[in-house]
């Protein structure tokens, strides 16, 4: 078994700001090492700089820029709420890169993102150099503010849905997916978002006979495949989300439906 090389890195916070109405923050960290080598879909384990928070927090890599990585997270629990207090210039320790990213092997990709799941698809869209489309959904127009800005000019087409119809199409991404698939000949779907949404998208992809990759999220402690907090049942036997994922072929993980 060859494991990818992991590193503990002391990074310096370059930018840290709230970008979303629902406690969504952007953390831009200089890690003084080539971040362009990281694959879209990989993640880091970030140590919240406070003795009170014990375990590292897994956060997906939203984007990279030279030696910098962009993390987009939601301050939802004790650890991430404490993380919001980190200041520009502060040092944060990260364990990176972790997991396996998306397999970019396709001609016409469709990205489907829901809520915070829109974030890790940014780097994926950039790696597709403008040939990907994205179907992205949030609760309302306010929550869609940062995704609209982030996806300005990195995709061929952006299709927006909001639960309340305050921006773009009304409803969930999965509801509009069949229409989107009817318009263009996509050969692969990449999805990240709430599990219920990913399952719906995966099911539609299967019906249309289109390849689909999903990025899973699970509680984890080590991020290295040791603690077995994040193992899941798959058609290939038990797999670790942190090491074997977080990206999986949808039919390998959503096989009960």
């Amino acid at each position: 078994m060859t494991l990818p090389k992991h590193e503990l890195i002391d990074g310096k916070v370059i930018r840290h700001e709230q970008i979303g109405s629902n406690d969504v923050y952007l953390l831009d960290i200089d890690i003084f090492t080539d971040a362009e080598q990281y694959a879209a879909g990989q993640f880091v384990q970030l140590q919240v700089p406070d003795g009170e928070i014990l375990l590292r927090r897994p956060i997906s890599i939203a984007d990279v820029n030279g030696t910098r990585i962009i993390l987009i997270y939601r301050a939802i629990g004790k650890g991430t709420k404490r993380l919001t207090r980190v200041q520009c210039g502060d040092t944060v320790n990260i364990l990176a890169p972790l997991g396996h990213g998306f397999n970019l092997d396709c001609q016409k990709p469709l990205l489907v993102g829901g809520g915070l799941g829109i974030a890790p698809l940014i780097l994926l869209a950039k790696r597709f150099k403008g040939k990907a489309d994205i179907l992205m959904g949030c609760k309302n127009a306010a929550e869609m503010d940062w995704p609209v800005k982030m996806y300005d000019n990195i995709t061929a087409e952006n299709i927006i849905t909001t639960d309340d119809g305050s921006m773009g199409l009304k409803g969930f991404t999965a509801q509009h997916l069949p229409d989107v698939l009817a318009k263009k000949a996509y050969d692969k779907i990449f999805v990240c978002g709430p599990e219920i949404m990913m399952k719906s998208v995966a099911e539609i992809a299967k019906q249309h006979n289109i390849a689909c990759e999903v990025s899973l999220e699970k509680r984890m402690a080590c991020g290295l495949g040791a603690c077995l907090s994040c193992t899941i049942e798959t058609t290939r036997g038990r797999q670790k989300v942190c090491k074997d994922g977080p990206v999986f072929v949808s039919q390998e993980v959503f096989f009960n439906e």
Binding site: L3, E7, L8, E52, I53, L55, R219, M220, A226, C227
Partner: protein, 304 residues
């Protein structure tokens, strides 16, 4: 620091340092190969192993708690045969003693496991008689001295390797359990396993963990573990491996002063995957500062 030695020996197992890993927190060791200098690790105690593969518990398996974490992995492991055939040949290259933590559903299963693991590349077996997260089997071997003794005897009869008994802190009298373990023929005592605990989500009114209860580890349990090591040291002659919330060299030194011949690092591996190296380096510095040359010089030296 060439005149300073961290080398030690427990039940005939020669170790480069008194620093070991706690089962379940270090995988099979290879997961930490990018970070840990195996020359600094005394022994690698690998993931709890059972006769048959186990997929572990469903639902949420970990949650952070104040200064600690709860886990209910439920002994997920590939089974002893896969360990012997696939994993052991891979991890022997680290040249670090491998100790296998074993769990059985019956007294006989411990013997069977001990026998199968009596192979050249395994240094010892550690008996897990107190996994708080496994329901089947019905017998909590580790909370009752007679059943624990039968488990120890079963293992001892079937292997020539040292047998380590890992004591559960979830008992009324840890000293009584330690004495029973010594009488039953255990070669080494390790303590403590996790403390049974739970967490509740006040929004959903549901337990946080899929298994409802889990094992508490991390800095929160250290004072309890330290006290138990100290009490057991005074009651038995067997070598002791102390563990429970060791996050740094200072914690390790406390356990050794209390009477531990070696220490095991657990939860800290999750927080800082290269923590073994750091504790090793800091133990060397400590000996130098104290004008000591050998780590054994601090064992049991608590002046109480």
């Amino acid at each position: 620091m060439s005149n300073i030695s961290l080398k030690t020996e427990i039940a005939g197992i020669k170790m480069n340092s008194p620093i070991m890993t706690a089962s379940g927190t270090f995988g099979f060791g290879e997961e930490f190969a990018d970070f840990v200098d195996f020359n600094k690790l005394g022994a690698s105690v690998v993931k709890g192993t059972t006769l048959k593969p186990r997929s572990g518990n469903k639902g949420v398996r970990i949650t952070e708690t104040p200064a600690g974490m709860l886990n209910c992995i439920g002994l997920e492991n590939p089974g002893v045969e896969a360990f012997l055939q696939d994993i052991l040949p891979r991890i022997k290259k680290y040249n670090c003693p491998v100790i296998v933590n074993i769990s059985g559903n019956t007294v006989e299963e411990y013997g069977e496991l001990a026998k199968m693991l009596d192979v050249p590349d395994v240094a010892a077996v550690e008996l897990n008689v107190s996994c708080p997260n496994v329901k089947e089997g019905g017998i909590a071997f580790g909370v009752e001295p007679d059943s624990m003794s039968r488990v120890i005897e079963s293992a001892k009869k079937n292997t020539n390797k040292p047998v380590i008994i890992k004591l559960s802190p979830n008992v009324t009298d840890i000293v009584m359990m330690a004495k029973a373990a010594e009488k039953a023929g255990a070669d080494v005592i390790s303590l403590i396993n996790t403390l049974m605990g739970m967490a509740i989500d006040v929004n959903t009114w549901k337990p946080v963990l899929g298994n409802i209860t889990g094992g508490l580890s991390g800095p929160a349990v250290k004072p309890v573990a330290l006290r138990m090591v100290w009490q057991v040291r005074q009651a038995v002659k067997l070598p002791i491996i102390g563990m429970g919330g060791i996050m740094n060299a200072t914690d390790a030194i406390e356990f050794m002063l209390a009477g531990a011949d070696a220490v095991a690092v657990g939860t800290a591996n999750f927080v800082q995957p290269d923590i073994i190296n750091k504790i090793y380096d800091d133990l060397e510095k400590y000996l130098k500062e104290k004008n000591l040359t050998n780590i054994k010089q601090i064992v049991g030296k608590l002046q109480a």
